[in-house]
């Protein structure tokens, strides 16, 4: 085992050690000790990642380490082993790097909380699970991490468990994710049935086998009554896995938990619900990209769901007044864009957006946290305003984050979003698949326009204009301590610089990032990958339009919320139709209510009805009648002896003996 492998083995377990220390000895460590241990564990895991990353970057080969044989039963052989290849090394750096910054930030943000050690133990446990998810060398370990991050998300959303709403939000997140995990698990079962293995390398190697390809592409009837649907096995597998992705990565139809997840402490929202955990679905699809591209219908569904989610969530972000809710819907929307890219075969494009988004969305959440911290817990944008001078560092960094996510060049979001939009529009621009490209392209560009608008709305409402909150709160607002501003600054630098890793060829860049991932993700459809080289003109045209859209959306938001803050209300008042539309958007399209009526209440009602009718009325009535008869007999026996139960026992023994005797002697003699 070389040095890099040893470091790789240590990375997750450092976080586990931090979890155990804080979990078991938290009370002795106290507030400062707990925070120190938690932050140290995260930073140590980042430092140990560096040699691993250096090895991967210098050789291009994966670093592996086998720890032990985990589950061996019959043909199932699962190792507990880590694999850090071209894909996972990026996740490794995001998780430990951004994770460390957020741990540091948390030390400042949570300094006044009553249960600091518990907070850091959960946060370290999250890092451990997330690292298992990305570093595991097989799908089962990924699943372990997958459920583990779900657990930590549950614990951290409900961190302030005394508030029943927050505890409920945590539980909702867990259960909605479990619905996704149900799909993931079915996908795993089917994959094992075909490949007899969960190892990524075995799966990828066996995809070349013609028998296995034949089996994957063989179609079967779904067996749904009255509907004659045939599906290939690989289509079913990938759809089941994608259901898992919609849970973890908050896509339609399972996105509903993410906005509520904002009940957790803000650094948690930054780390788990923006930068890392919610991108697991994208990581999983990229990891299995060679399998997904064998099922074009699944790919179209992924693109469609992603595009639809991007627009749908962006619309809801327009009408939110809670600063964190705006960012939450923005995250759902950005994740949608990533899936849009994946569905069109743009695996490296989608993954590049994972990378840049991790910086600017973490930055935006931490900035929002800094604002909330300064205003002693105020989250309502309507009571903010004019904070620019009170929180200069927060404002400057958040401005960078906003510009980056809006897609204004040359910030990171511009390059990553450009790649996605190119993939979306490609079918239309190259004339290869006009309808498909037009729909996806319009969805992507519309979502981008909305993004620029709602983000500048947020920035303007929070920092510019006149203060709208109480004068007292405003005058108390103070810039956060260095533990919080330092992470903001570092993330801001990354939000500016990260995009330059993947400057497209059309701009005479070298598209490093895409080239780096090219050996590990599928190139599909081949024609689309080739097209990018020969359509530089179209790509530059699209870029120009996208930039104009970004400036337009941003400028429009600035104009309205600075110059005409009363305009939205006026419009709504004048046009009742628009007012109704606004109300629907503000109330999130009543999706939560619909789920409550269609799923939650019927299940509860069924449960209760079945219990009363089947268990209590039918089965137990039959039993009670029988019991009554027995009681009549025992009533007679009671006169002979006292103590009802003893009587039954005696009667039973007597009866059993009689039967035994009868069979043994009467039948035996015969």
């Amino acid at each position: 085992m070389n040095e890099a492998s040893r470091c790789l083995a240590a990375v997750p377990f450092l976080c586990l050690a931090g979890f155990l220390a804080n979990g078991l000895l938290g009370r002795r460590l106290g507030r400062n000790g707990g925070a120190a241990v938690g932050v140290a564990a995260a930073i140590a895991s980042f430092l140990f990642s560096i040699p691993v990353a250096r090895e991967v970057f210098s050789t291009g080969e994966a670093v592996k380490v086998d720890l032990f044989a985990w589950i061996d039963v019959a043909d199932l052989q699962v190792k507990f082993a880590f694999l850090c290849d071209r894909l996972s090394v990026i996740m490794l750096l995001i998780v430990t790097g951004v994770g460390s910054l957020i741990h540091l930030y948390s030390a400042g943000y949570m300094a006044h909380d009553a249960s600091v050690p518990r907070y850091f133990s959960y946060l370290n446990l999250f890092m451990f699970s997330m690292l298992l998810l990305v570093l595991g060398d097989n799908l089962l370990l990924m699943f372990v991490g997958w459920e583990g991050v779900g657990l930590c998300s549950y614990l951290l959303i409900g961190f302030w468990f005394e508030d029943p709403e927050k505890a409920y939000a945590g539980r909702k997140a867990f259960i909605v994710n479990r619905i996704g995990d149900f799909g993931f698990a079915l996908g795993l079962f089917a994959i094992f049935m075909v490949f007899h293995s969960f190892d990524y390398e075995t799966i990828r190697a066996n995809l070349g086998d013609s028998n296995i390809r034949g089996r994957l592409l063989s179609t079967f009837e779904l067996g749904i009554p009255f509907v004659d649907v045939k599906m290939s096995l690989v289509c079913a597998i990938t759809l089941a896995l994608f259901l898992g992705a919609t849970g973890k990565s908050a896509q339609i139809p399972l996105y509903v938990w993410l906005p509520d997840a904002m009940a957790g402490p803000t650094p948690v929202s930054a780390l788990i619900h923006a930068a890392t955990m919610v991108t697991s679905g994208i990581y999983m699809v990229c990891r299995l990209s060679h399998l997904f591209v064998m099922a074009p219908p699944t790919m179209d569904i992924i693109a469609g769901v992603g595009g639809a989610t991007a627009v749908f969530a962006a619309l809801m972000a327009l009408a939110q007044n809670d600063i964190k809710k705006v960012l939450a819907y923005s995250t759902v929307s950005q994740l949608g864009l990533m899936f849009l890219a994946l569905g069109t075969g743009g695996f490296s494009a989608g993954f590049f957006h994972v990378f840049t988004h991790a910086f600017f969305k973490a930055l935006l959440f931490l900035g929002a946290g800094s604002v909330i911290h300064a205003l002693s817990g105020e989250q309502d944008l309507r009571r903010m305003g004019g904070l620019k001078d009170r929180l200069p560092a927060t404002f400057a960094t958040m401005l960078i984050g906003t510009v980056a996510i809006a897609g204004i060049p040359p910030f990171a979001g511009f390059f990553s979003k450009d790649e996605i939009l190119w993939r979306a529009w490609e079918g239309y621009l190259t004339g290869r698949n006009i309808g498909h490209g037009l729909i996806l392209g319009l969805l992507g560009s519309f979502a981008s326009a909305l993004t620029a608008f709602y983000m500048f709305r947020l920035l303007t409402l929070a920092f510019l204009g006149a203060p709208r909150g109480s004068a007292e709160a405003h005058s108390h607002a103070h810039e956060s301590p260095w533990t919080m501003t330092l992470p903001l600054t570092i993330l801001a630098i990354c939000s500016v610089a990260a995009g330059f890793l993947n400057v497209p060829h059309a701009l005479h860049g070298s598209a490093h990032f895409s080239a780096w991932l090219q050996p590990v993700v599928a190139a599909w459809p081949e024609i689309a990958t080739a097209a990018q080289a020969s359509h530089h003109g179209a790509e530059i045209g699209l870029m120009t339009v996208s930039t104009l859209i970004a400036f337009g959306g941003s400028g429009f938001a600035l104009w309205i919320y600075l110059k005409r803050p009363g305009l939205p209300a006026e419009v709504i008042q004048k046009s009742p139709g628009l007012g109704r539309v606004y109300a629907v958007i503000r109330d999130k399209f009543y999706i939560d209510e619909a789920y409550d009526r269609i799923v939650v209440r019927p299940v509860k009602l069924t449960a209760f009805t079945l219990w009363i009718f089947v268990d209590v009325l039918i089965i137990d009535t039959l039993i009670n009648v029988a019991a009554l008869i027995a009681e009549v007999i025992s009533e007679a026996a009671r006169r002979l002896q006292d103590g009802a139960v003893g009587t039954y026992a005696v009667w039973f023994l007597a009866g059993a003996m009689l039967l035994l005797g009868y069979f043994l002697f009467v039948l035996g003699a015969a």
């Binding site: 985990w70 149900f182 698990a185 509860k604 009802a644 026992a649 035994l660």
Partner: protein, 523 residues
């Protein structure tokens, strides 16, 4: 010959019970101590079953055989294999925990302790007996102490619950007894020895089959009925919630932890190998009932207000998984099923202990009486969360390994039942987290709950071994699976061959009969 460990496991608890019974009535404390020492000694004696067990060896180990009543063909034959060894160890581990959990019992202490110790011998006997009649004796012997534990030391409706338990079990077991005698005479080997009986009822080659198809079906049905009541399978489960609600904490622990396993174990050890052909015919029905149990049991949990009732219904769901894994003849599923029996004993045992901790403090188990407990009892909250997660099969805990293996193996063999049962995993998370939230989270709404003390030393002593196992099985499952898997592979190989052979023979017989009928018609 090695030391007669299994016989020692049968004798020590009974001897301890006799000792406890001989103590004067007022020496309650001594009775508890004597029971604890006996149970602990039994556990120590059982340790070689772990250390000296040879996982690779197929067949029974630690076997002891003695002629008992030769005239009747009754032998004293005991042994364990990879299927039963962990269940015996689970029993000896849970028993000292149960005695500790009963420390606050004040009414007729020595009778209580004696009942528990006799129960232990009977349970171990049922797991190790290799003679059908011997098994039946132990099987029925379990009934009486359990009946007394519920009926004497139970809650308000204890007599109703005890009677219900009794009726279900007796109505279930007597047909099995008749079937045992029937096959004894039909086999013609004049022995109740399990292996001999099985071999003579399923002869190799072309020897005539002793049982007709109909007789085999009825006998399997009689066995399966007795075991299905114990599992319990839907719709024979309604005794369980009442029994659990009324039983004292330790009674619930032992009922869920070990007694229910008698049902699944019995199906596996007796019903399937003796009647493989009939078992294959009944498999679709049993798979359906198991899947219904998983979903129905989970739904029932959503309608409960009493924590013990909720956990009781969750047992119906969990054991549904175990039965599912048995009837698909898949090595992964069956290994998972056996591991899940152990897991359920650990997790549900721990859940009942957790309920007991609250009950001792507040004398209520209703969810509405709690809330915000995490604030006043943080360590308790941590333990309850861990046990809850184990129960819903979170990776890293024991529950995941069992459920995953069952579902993975079942999916290979039968898609639809596997998919339906997988929904149980979602429902499981729903009801268990709902329970945990109502107990632990939110504000403290009842004044009485404001000053509850956290876990005490004795409570830690009952919970820590179970917590250790929850993680040990979850993280290094191979240590356990290595003991189970070889036995399972051999078992399934034999059963599959027997089913195949049986079906061929039946088909032959049928065609021969047809041929003769046609031949007769021609004459």
């Amino acid at each position: 010959m090695s030391a007669p460990i299994l016989s020692a496991l049968l004798v020590i608890p009974v001897a301890g019970a006799a000792l406890v019974a001989l103590l004067p009535r007022e020496n309650a404390r001594e009775a508890k101590l004597a029971a604890l020492l006996t149970a602990f000694l039994t556990f120590l004696v059982s340790i070689p079953l772990w250390t000296q067990f040879r996982p690779g060896d197929i067949g029974m180990q630690f076997v002891e055989t003695r002629a008992w009543v030769p005239a009747l063909g009754l032998t004293y034959k005991v042994g364990v294999d990879g299927i039963s060894v962990l269940l015996v160890l689970l029993t000896t581990l849970l028993m000292p925990i149960c005695v500790l959990a009963s420390w606050s019992i004040s009414d007729r202490v020595k009778d209580y302790m004696a009942a528990f110790l006799i129960l232990e011998s009977a349970m171990i006997g049922s797991f190790v007996a290799q003679d059908l009649l011997l098994f039946y004796v132990f099987w029925e012997a379990m009934l009486i102490p359990m009946l007394l534990i519920i009926g004497v030391w139970g809650g308000r409706r204890r007599v109703y619950a005890a009677l219900k338990f009794f009726l279900f079990t007796v109505v279930g077991s007597l047909p099995m007894f008749v079937a045992i005698l029937y096959i004894y005479f039909k086999a013609g080997a004049h022995t109740f020895d399990l292996e001999t009986l099985r071999a003579s009822l399923n002869p190799a080659g072309d020897a005539p089959l002793p049982l007709t198809v109909t007789a085999a079906r009825w006998c399997f049905f009689a066995f399966a009925l007795a075991f299905a009541v114990k599992v319990p399978l839907f719709p024979l489960h309604t005794w369980l919630p009442d029994a659990h609600v009324e039983a004292p904490t330790a009674g619930s622990v032992i009922l869920a932890g070990v007694l229910l396993k008698m049902g699944t174990y019995g199906l596996l050890r007796f019903a399937i190998p003796i009647f493989p052909g009939a078992a294959a015919e009944f498999a679709p029905a049993l798979i359906s009932l198991a899947v219904i149990g998983v979903i129905y049991g989970s739904l029932m949990c959503l309608a409960q207000e009493d924590m013990k009732k909720l956990i009781a219904y969750s047992s119906v769901a969990h054991l549904g998984f175990c039965v599912l894994g048995m009837f698909v003849w898949n090595d992964k599923a069956l290994s998972g099923s056996i591991l899940q029996m152990v897991n359920h004993g650990i997790s549900t045992g721990a859940l009942f202990l957790c309920v007991g901790v609250l009950y001792e403090r507040r004398h209520t188990r209703l969810l509405e009486d709690f809330g915000g407990i995490a604030k006043v009892m943080p360590w308790y909250a941590a333990v309850l969360i861990i046990v809850t997660l184990s129960s819903i099969g979170l990776p890293g805990t024991n529950g995941f390994i069992g459920e995953f293996l069952i579902l993975l193996g079942t999916f290979e063999a039968k898609k639809v039942p596997a998919i339906l049962a997988s929904t149980g995993v979602v429902l499981g998370a729903t009801y268990m987290l709902w329970m945990a939230q109502r107990v632990l989270f939110g504000r403290v709404t009842h004044e009485e709950n404001e000053n509850l003390g956290d876990l005490r030393g004795r409570e830690w002593a009952t919970l820590l071994p179970l917590l250790f196992l929850i993680f040990a099985i979850g993280v290094v499952p191979n240590v356990f699976l290595h003991r189970i898997a070889p036995a399972v592979e051999d078992y399934n190989r034999q059963v599959r061959a027997a089913i195949h052979h049986d079906q061929e023979r039946r088909a032959e017989e049928k065609s021969r009969a047809e041929f003769e009928r046609h031949g007769g018609a021609r004459k």
